[in-house]
């Protein structure tokens, strides 16, 4: 079963990655990132069980906390940007170039 879990995790991670790359709405991009993080967590939990080691769960726990913090700050940034630019498209914020 471990293999199945891991492949599921890989699939979800890849789908999340594709989403990050093709979606322009910053909020959706964020959701895709969350999806990738969750996929990772699944792998951690799976390995924890595989090896009988609780530390996989510990790190999944930390990932969740950090993800929560990240979402808070990220969304705040999106809101701030939206407030001034009236847009949530990541392509609009492209001044930092060349």
């Amino acid at each position: 079963m471990t293999t199945h879990y891991l492949i599921l995790s890989a699939l979800l991670f890849a789908i999340g990655g594709i989403g990050v790359l093709i979606r322009r709405n910053a909020i959706v991009v964020f959701m895709c990132v969350e999806l990738m993080l969750n996929a990772c967590n699944l792998a951690f939990v799976t390995f924890a069980r595989q090896h009988g080691n609780i530390e996989g769960q510990v790190i999944a726990f930390f990932v969740m906390i950090v993800a929560a913090a990240e979402v808070v700050v990220g969304l705040a940034i999106i809101v701030t940007i939206f407030r001034t630019r009236r847009s949530a498209s990541v392509d609009d914020a492209s001044l930092l170039k060349y």
Binding site: I7, L8, L21, L42, G52, A76
Partner: protein
Amino acid sequence: MGETVTFWVLAVASVAAALGLVFSRKAVYSALMLGVVMLSLAVLYAVQDAPFLAAVQIIVYTGAVMMLFLFVLMLVGVDSSDSLVETLRGQRFWAFLAGLGFAVLLALGFGNVVFAAPTGLAAVNQAGNVPSLAEAIFTRYVFAFEVTSALLITAALGAMVLAHRERAEAKATQKDLSRARFVAFGETGANPASLPGPGTYARHNAIDMPALLPDGSISQLSVNRHLARHTEELLEERSGELDASETPVAEITEGENSK
């Protein structure tokens, strides 16, 4: 056996939901799809000897994080359905190629490994999953934990600072607003009054149903424009009851205060 069934059901559900998350044009749908994935994963955690994580997944993710997403979506505007036309040359092609390649490579890699039967966490979880996790977190990883707490506080502070808007001018008083409304009325004829409520003759009290004016006509102003499409349905519904010609849509110009 039970685990296998659970897995396959949830695996299919979560992959489908994930695809839906990526490809739905509306951000709200994406958010809901993400919720589906998270719940599925929570169950899978529970199946894999991680009940505490499953609970946290539901509480933190599906509960808090998802709500936050939806809040922001509301702020930003739920109606903004994205255009799926790609503007960066080659972006989509390469994204799919890389994603597929990545997935295939990982899958191949995992597929090639022959795992022994999982050790299981039964031994570790003897005292219960939560105490054993707690022991790890508060002994060996206590420093990381404390740092995480600092991170959370910083994030909370950061979010407040970011979202806070410094007021550039004095806050408009009720008097100012009222004056502005009438100035606008004088100049453009905008409706100075408050928006109409559902109205005396309302047959629905749903927020997406427009109010009926005393003459029975529909006031579009009473509906949030994001929900305005329901007005069309209402008109169709009522076409039988009222003569179309007798129910002119009130054409009062939308004023600044209509929002």
